[in-house]
C-alpha cells in the first residue's frame, strides 16, 4: 500500500468516525451552531417568496457528471434540489431543474420524482423537470437562459459544476432582476460568481447546503467533521512548514511522491 493510499484510508476512516461521533453528539440537539451563510438564508427567503408570489425556483445543477471530482458538486446540487423541493412543496409551481450532463439529468429527474412522491406533489411525478439542456458548457448556458427568463422563475440557484459560462447565467438573472444564488467547485467560476452573483457560495459552502436547509443530523455532523479536518490540515501545513524550515521534510515528500 502506498503512502498516499494509506493516507487516504486514514482520512476516510477519520472522516467517517468524526461524522458518526458528531451525529451521536448532536443527536439530542435541535441545531448545532453553524456560521450563517447568507446564500442559504437567501434560498429559504426565496422559497417563501415563491410560495407567496406563486412563482418557482430554478435550480441548475451544472454540467458535472458523477464520475470524477466534479461529481461531488453535482451531488451537492442534487441534495439541495431535494431540500428545495421539500420546502417548496406548497408552491403553486414546483422548482424547475436543469442539467448539462446526461447522468446528472437522470439523477435529477429521479430525485424530483422520488421527492415529489414522498411529499405527494403529483405534478412533478407527471413531468419532472431536470432535462438535459446541452452537453457543452455554452450550449447548456444558452439553453438555461430560456428558463431563467421565464416570468414564473423568481430566483435562480446554480449549484454544481460550472465554468466560465456561469457568467451567462448570473447576468441573465440580473437582467431579470431575480436573485441569483450560485456556487461551484471550479475556482475560475468562483471568481466569476463572486463578481456577478448576488449571493455567492464560495469554496466548500457549496457542499453544506444540506446542513443549512435541514437535511438531517448527518449533514450537520459532516460540517463539524469538516471543521475538525480543516484544523487538522492547518496544523499539518504549519507542521510541514516547520519541518521544512528545519530540513526535516522527508516524510511529506514521500507522501507526495506516492511511496512510503
Amino acid at each position: 500500500m502506498s503512502a498516499t493510499g494509506f493516507t487516504g484510508i486514514v482520512v476516510i476512516v477519520l472522516f467517517v468516525g468524526l461524522i458518526v461521533f458528531f451525529s451521536i453528539i448532536h443527536k439530542d440537539r435541535k441545531h448545532i451552531p453553524i456560521r450563517p451563510i447568507p446564500a442559504y438564508q437567501k434560498i429559504i427567503e426565496e422559497i417563501n417568496v415563491a410560495v407567496e408570489d406563486g412563482t418557482q425556483l430554478h435550480i441548475s445543477l451544472g454540467r458535472g457528471g458523477i464520475i470524477g471530482p466534479e461529481s461531488a458538486a453535482g451531488l451537492a446540487g442534487l441534495s439541495l434540489l431535494k431540500q428545495v423541493i421539500e420546502k417548496s412543496s406548497i408552491c403553486d409551481h414546483p422548482p424547475v431543474a436543469s442539467t448539462g450532463n446526461p447522468v446528472l439529468s437522470i439523477l435529477a429527474q429521479d430525485t424530483i420524482r422520488s421527492t415529489s412522491k414522498a411529499i405527494s406533489v403529483a405534478e412533478q411525478l407527471r413531468h419532472p423537470s431536470g432535462e438535459l439542456i446541452g452537453v457543452t458548457p455554452f450550449s447548456y448556458a444558452a439553453g438555461t437562459l430560456t428558463i431563467i427568463r421565464d416570468e414564473k422563475v423568481s430566483a435562480n440557484v446554480h449549484t454544481g459544476w460550472f465554468g466560465n459560462e456561469i457568467i451567462w447565467l448570473t447576468t441573465a438573472g440580473e437582467r431579470q432582476s431575480s436573485p441569483t444564488i450560485a456556487g461551484t467547485a471550479q475556482l475560475p467560476a468562483q471568481a466569476i460568481i463572486y463578481a456577478s452573483a448576488s449571493d455567492p457560495l464560495i469554496g466548500e459552502e457549496l457542499y453544506a447546503g444540506g446542513a443549512y436547509l435541514g437535511a438531517g443530523k448527518v449533514h450537520e455532523a459532516s460540517i463539524s467533521a469538516q471543521d475538525v479536518m480543516r484544523w487538522i490540515i492547518i496544523f499539518l501545513i504549519l507542521g510541514s512548514a516547520l519541518l521544512n524550515l528545519f530540513g526535516i521534510n522527508t516524510f511529506l515528500e514521500e507522501i507526495l511522491a506516492g511511496s512510503m
Binding site: 498516499t4 417568496v49 470524477g68 452537453v135 455554452f138 465554468g163 475556482l187 515528500e253 507526495l256
Partner: protein, 971 residues
C-alpha cells in the same frame, strides 16, 4: 299557605297581617291569595276554577284526567272526539292544561273573537324577534307555528344566554318535539342571526298536518291500545327517536334538545309551561338530556326511573320498554291501583262513562296524542306572552286594546299573557295544524254550553274526577317530572351533575326541579331502591305537600301571588271569559298555576344558596314582586350587539382593559397586510454592457486590421530559466522521430480561440521533431477539435491520419475513463476515430499502458481536467513526462504541480502569453505573435473600462448607500 300577597314584594302573608312580613310595606289592597289548587289561570281564563275540589284527589280521577288530556289532543279529528256535553265540559277542564291547543273545545269560537288581541300579542312577540331579525314575518304564515317558533326561538335565546345545556325533563313527552323540524334550524343554529326565521322555516300547515298522518296513523292503532295507561306506557317506553318521529310538536323539543326523553305525559300546559316558563331553569335540564346520546338507553332509563314505582319491578329487574312496564310506571298516578293492580288494568277499571268521551275509536293514536297537549298553543302563547315582556319595559307597556280597566303596571304582563293566549287561539284556527288536531273536526260546541260552566257552579255534567283541583294534578305531574328528572340524573355523571348544581347559582339559571331533586328526589331515590315504592307513592300521593314541600310552597306562592296580583278588571274579564264557550277558554293566554309553580325563582334562590340576593325583589317583568331572583333585564332584552361590549365596559379592570387593548391591537395588526420591503433589484447597466462590447470590438478590430507581426527579441537565458514553457520546450527537445506522443484535446470548442493559438507552437514543435501523435479526448467534441486543429494550424506539416498520427476519439467516463485508459489503453479504445485499428501503427504496437508513450501533452481550458490528468494519470506515469497547454485561467492551479518536487507536471504553456514566450523560445513566430498586439490592446482597453466603470459604480454605490441612509433616517 299565605293568604295575602304583598303588592310590593309579592310574598305571601297571613290574612291578619297589615304589613308585609318581608318588605314591610302595607298590605292594603293586596290580593287575597286563593287557596291552593286554584290557579291564576282558573280565576282568569277558565270557568272551571274549582277551589272546592278536594285536595285529596281520587286516583281514578287523576288517571282519567290524564287520559282525558291525552285523548283530547290525540283524538282530534278522530271519531272519538265527538264531544258530548260531558266531553265538552271535560275539555273545558283540560283547557286549563291545553288552553290554546284544544281544538275541540267549544271555546274556540269565542277565542276567535279575541283574535285581534292575540294578533297583537303575536305581533308583539314578532317585534321582539324582529329586533334581532329585521325581516318581518310573512303575513301569510300560519299563526300557530309562529308562536311556536317564537317560543322555541326564545328558548334558544335563553339557552344561549344562559349557555347552560338543558336537562332532560322526563316528565315531558318527546313526541311534540318532532313535528316541526323546520322550525328548529333557525333557532338552533343561530336564532338571532337568521334574517327571518319565520320565513326561513315556515312549517306549512300542509306539512304539519301531513306529518302526523305520514308518520303516524292513528287509525292503525288497534282498539286495544285505547287503553290509556297502556298507551301511556307504550308511549313512555317508545324510543325517543320513534316518539319524536311521530310527534308533530317536536320542534319544542328540538329547540330544547335535551328536553323530554321520558314518556310520561304531564298536562300539556305543564309541558309547554315547563319549556317556556322556565327559561332560566330549563336549560340545565336540557343539557343533561343532551348529554344522552343514545336514545334507547334513555327510554330504558325513563322506564327504569319509574320502575321503582312499580311494586313488581322496583329494584328487581330492568324495566322493559314494553307498554306493560310503562303502564306500570303510571301506576303512581293512581295510588289506589298502583299498589295492587297492574297498570294495564287501570283503563279497565275506569267506568265507561268517564272514558266515553275519551274513546278515540279504532283510529285513536293515544301514544302520540298523549303528549300533544303538552305543547298546546295556549301554553305556548302564555309563555310567549310571558317571555315577550322580558324583552323590555317598552314592549310591556303596550296595553291590551280591549282592556277597559285601568292597568296596573305589575299586571301588564298578565294582559299580554292573556292576549298571547288569545293569539294562540289562532293556532287552532289555522289550517296548518294537523287535521287530527284541527278543531273543525270536532263539533263546535255551543257557546252556551261553556257559559253554563260557571266557576262557582260545579256542573253536574262535569265528571267528578275533572273537578279535581287542576293545580293539584299539575303538581302531581310536576312531582312526577321531578321524579323523572331525578331518575335521569344518574345517566349523567355525578360530576357533571354536581357541576350543574354548582353552576346554577353562578349562571343564575336555577332550575327549581333540579334543585328540588337533592332534597326530595334523593329520598325518592332511596325509597325506590327498596320494594316499598308503593308505600312511598301512596305517601307521596296522600301527602304530597310533605313529600314535595318545597314544590308545594312554590306552587302556593305563585298561585297566591297571581291571584292577588290580579286586578279586579282582570278578574272580571276572566270571569267573563270563563262564561265563554269552552274553546274560548282553551285559547286564553292564561298562565296556569302549575306553570307558575314551575318557576324556579323562589326555590331556586333558596336552594342555590343565593342568600345574598334575597334582598333583591324583582320589580319588572313576569317575575315582578318575586324576591331572590336574578335580574331578568340583565339577560333578556339585551341587544346582542352590545352584549359583547358591555362586560368590557363594566367589568374589566385596568389590567383586563390593557389586555383587551393588546388583543385588539394584535387582531388589527393581523388584518393589516404587512408589506415586505425587498431590496430593489439591481438594474442591469445595458449602456455599460454595450459600451464595453463596442469599445472592445472596435479596438481589437482596428488592431487586427492594421496589425503587423511584432518583431520580438528572444528572451534571455535568465528570463527563461525555470519557466514552465522552457521546461516544456526541453521535454519536446528530448523527443526523437517516431516516438509516440499522446495529445489530449480536452477543451471546449469555445476555448479553441485561445488554446489553438497557445498549442500551435507546441504541436508545431512536436511535428517538427517527427513524433507520432495520438489524439484522445475526454470531451465529446475533442476528436473533431483535434482534426480541426490539425487542419487549421498544422496544415503545412501534412500529417496524415494513421500514418503520422492517430485520432483515438472520445474517451468516455471522464476521470474514471481516463484512469482506465491509463491502465489499459488498448482495451478502452480499441478502434480509432475513423474505425480503423488504432494500435496497428508501428509506433503504437508496443504501447500497452499510458506510460509507454514518450510524452503526454494535455490541452485543456478546464483546471479540473488538468488536475485529473495530474492526479489520476501523472501518478501512474513512470518516466513519461506530463506536459500541458492550458488556458490562462488554469495556470494558477497547475503552477504548484510544476513548482513542486518531484514534478508531476514537467512543463506547460499557459495562454497566449505563454505561447508567445514559447514562440520566442523556438524563434518561430506563429499565431501568438500575430494576435499579440490586438490581445494586449484588448487587455489595456479592458483594464481601462474596468477601472472607469468600477470607479463610477463605486461612486454611485456610495451615493446610493448614503441616499438610502438618508431615506431611512427621514422615515
Amino acid at each position: 299557605m299565605a293568604d295575602i300577597l304583598c303588592p310590593t314584594c309579592g310574598r305571601p302573608n297571613s290574612k291578619d297581617r297589615e304589613f308585609c312580613d318581608f318588605c314591610g310595606n302595607p298590605l292594603d289592597g293586596a290580593l287575597t291569595a286563593k287557596p291552593q289548587g286554584t290557579s291564576l289561570r282558573n280565576d282568569l281564563f277558565t270557568e272551571e276554577s274549582s277551589p272546592d275540589l278536594p285536595q285529596d284527589r281520587n286516583d281514578q280521577d287523576e288517571i282519567s284526567r290524564l287520559e282525558s288530556l291525552l285523548s283530547e289532543t290525540e283524538g282530534e279529528g278522530t271519531p272519538f272526539q265527538k264531544p258530548t256535553p260531558e266531553s265538552g265540559e271535560e275539555s273545558s277542564r283540560l283547557d286549563e292544561y291545553l288552553p290554546a291547543e284544544e281544538p275541540l273545545s267549544k271555546a274556540d269560537s269565542s277565542q276567535r273573537k279575541a283574535a285581534p288581541e292575540e294578533t297583537d300579542d303575536t305581533s308583539r312577540l314578532e317585534e321582539y324577534f324582529r329586533e334581532e331579525n329585521p325581516v318581518p314575518p310573512p303575513p301569510g304564515k300560519s299563526q300557530p307555528q309562529e308562536p311556536t317558533k317564537e317560543s322555541s326561538r326564545l328558548e334558544e335565546y335563553i339557552k344561549e344566554e344562559s349557555s347552560v345545556p338543558p336537562v332532560p325533563e322526563n316528565s315531558r313527552p318527546q313526541e311534540p318535539i318532532k313535528d316541526s323540524p323546520p322550525l328548529e334550524d333557525p333557532f338552533v343554529r343561530d336564532p338571532f342571526k337568521s334574517p327571518d326565521p319565520f320565513q326561513e322555516t315556515p312549517l306549512s300547515g300542509e306539512e304539519e298536518s301531513d306529518r302526523p298522518e305520514e308518520e303516524f296513523d292513528p287509525f292503525k292503532i288497534p282498539p286495544e291500545e285505547l287503553d290509556l295507561t297502556g298507551e301511556l306506557d307504550s308511549k313512555k317506553n317508545k324510543p325517543p327517536s320513534q316518539a319524536e318521529a311521530e310527534d308533530p310538536w317536536e320542534f319544542f323539543s328540538q329547540d330544547s334538545p335535551g328536553e323530554p326523553t321520558g314518556g310520561e305525559s304531564p298536562p300539556a300546559s305543564e309541558d309547554s309551561a315547563g319549556e317556556k316558563d322556565f327559561p332560566d331553569s330549563a336549560p340545565p335540564e336540557k343539557s343533561a338530556s343532551s348529554e344522552i346520546p343514545d336514545e334507547a338507553p334513555i327510554a330504558e332509563t325513563s322506564a327504569g326511573e319509574w320502575g321503582f314505582l312499580d311494586p313488581k319491578d322496583a329494584g328487581e329487574e330492568p324495566v322493559s320498554p314494553t307498554s306493560e312496564d310503562s303502564g306500570e310506571k303510571w301506576d303512581f298516578l293512581d295510588p289506589g291501583i298502583s299498589s295492587a293492580e297492574p297498570a294495564e288494568q287501570v283503563p279497565d277499571d275506569q267506568t265507561p262513562d268517564e272514558f266515553a268521551w275519551l274513546d278515540p275509536g279504532p283510529a285513536a293514536d293515544l301514544p302520540e296524542d298523549e303528549d300533544q297537549p303538552e305543547f298546546g298553543s295556549q301554553g305556548f302563547g302564555e309563555d310567549s306572552g310571558w317571555l315577550d315582556m322580558l324583552q323590555g319595559p317598552e314592549s310591556s307597556q303596550a296595553p291590551p286594546p280591549e282592556s277597559s280597566q285601568p292597568k296596573k303596571p305589575q299586571t301588564d304582563w298578565l294582559e299580554k299573557i292573556k292576549r298571547l293566549n288569545k293569539s294562540s287561539d289562532l293556532v287552532d284556527e289555522d289550517s296548518s295544524f294537523p287535521d287530527w288536531l284541527a278543531v273543525s273536526n270536532l263539533p263546535t260546541a255551543e257557546p252556551e254550553e261553556p257559559e253554563q260552566m260557571e266557576p262557582g257552579k260545579p256542573s253536574s255534567e262535569v265528571p267528578e274526577w275533572l273537578n279535581l283541583d287542576d293545580d293539584e294534578s299539575l303538581n302531581e305531574f310536576l312531582r312526577r317530572k321531578d321524579l323523572t328528572n331525578e331518575e335521569h340524573t344518574p345517566q349523567i355523571s355525578e360530576v357533571s351533575q354536581k357541576e350543574a348544581e354548582d353552576d346554577e347559582p353562578a349562571t343564575g339559571l336555577s332550575d327549581s326541579q333540579q334543585i328540588k331533586f337533592p332534597s326530595w328526589a334523593e329520598e325518592q331515590k332511596k325509597k325506590s331502591q327498596s320494594p316499598e315504592d308503593l308505600q312511598f307513592l301512596a305517601a307521596y300521593e296522600d301527602d304530597a305537600s310533605k313529600s314535595a314541600e318545597p314544590f308545594q310552597i312554590e306552587e302556593e306562592f305563585f298561585d297566591d301571588l297571581f291571584d292577588e296580583e290580579l286586578p279586579d278588571w282582570l278578574t272580571a274579564a276572566s270571569s267573563k271569559e270563563v262564561s265563554q264557550p269552552l274553546q274560548d277558554e282553551l285559547a286564553q293566554g292564561e298562565l296556569p298555576g302549575w306553570v307558575e309553580a314551575m318557576r324556579p325563582v323562589v326555590e331556586s334562590t333558596d336552594a342555590s344558596g343565593l342568600a345574598e340576593d334575597e334582598e333583591y325583589i324583582e320589580s319588572y317583568g313576569p317575575l315582578a314582586g318575586i324576591p331572590s331572583v336574578l335580574p331578568a333585564e340583565a339577560e333578556i332584552g339585551i341587544n346582542l350587539n352590545e352584549t359583547a361590549q358591555k362586560p368590557l365596559d363594566l367589568l374589566t379592570s385596568t389590567t383586563h382593559q390593557e389586555n383587551v387593548n393588546l388583543l385588539k391591537k394584535i387582531i388589527s395588526n393581523e388584518n393589516k397586510s404587512r408589506s415586505i420591503q425587498r431590496p430593489a433589484p439591481l438594474q442591469t447597466q445595458r449602456v455599460l454592457r454595450w459600451l464595453i462590447a463596442i469599445v472592445l470590438l472596435f479596438s481589437t478590430a482596428v488592431t487586427v486590421i492594421f496589425n503587423n507581426v511584432i518583431e520580438t527579441q528572444p528572451p534571455s537565458a535568465a528570463q527563461i530559466r525555470g519557466t514552465s514553457y522552457a521546461a516544456l520546450y526541453d521535454q519536446i527537445e528530448k523527443l526523437q522521430d517516431g516516438q509516440p506522443v499522446l495529445i489530449a484535446y480536452d477543451y471546449q470548442p469555445a476555448a479553441s480561440g485561445e488554446l489553438h493559438i497557445a498549442a500551435a507552437s507546441v504541436v508545431d514543435h512536436l511535428m517538427e521533431k517527427g513524433t507520432y501523435l495520438s489524439f484522445v479526448s475526454t470531451q465529446p467534441t475533442g476528436p473533431v477539435l483535434a482534426e480541426q486543429f490539425l487542419a487549421s494550424t498544422q496544415a503545412e506539416h501534412g500529417y496524415l491520419h494513421t500514418q503520422k498520427y492517430i485520432n483515438l476519439g472520445y474517451l468516455p467516463g471522464e476521470s474514471a475513463g481516463l484512469l482506465s485508459f491509463t491502465i489499459s489503453p488498448k482495451q478502452i479504445i480499441p478502434l480509432a476515430f475513423d474505425g480503423s485499428n488504432a494500435w496497428d501503427s508501428p509506433p503504437l504496437i508496443n504501447v500497452n499502458s499510458i506510460s509507454d508513450f514518450s510524452m503526454i501533452l494535455v490541452i485543456t481550458d478546464d483546471p479540473n481536467i488538468a488536475k485529473i490528468w495530474i492526479e489520476q494519470v501523472g501518478t501512474q506515469l513512470e518516466d513519461t513526462p506530463l506536459t500541458m497547454v492550458v488556458s490562462a485561467q488554469v495556470e494558477p492551479l497547475i503552477q504548484p504541480y510544476f513548482k513542486s518536487s518531484p514534478q508531476p507536471l514537467a512543463g506547460y504553456v499557459a495562454g497566449i502569453i505563454g505561447s508567445m514566450n514559447y514562440e520566442q523560445l523556438t524563434e518561430s513566430p506563429n499565431l501568438a505573435s500575430k494576435i499579440w498586439l490586438p490581445f494586449n490592446v484588448g487587455i489595456v482597453i479592458s483594464v481601462g473600462i474596468i477601472f472607469i466603470g468600477g470607479l463610477a459604480n463605486g461612486v454611485l454605490s456610495i451615493f446610493s448607500q448614503r441616499r438610502t441612509r438618508l431615506l431611512g433616517d427621514t422615515r
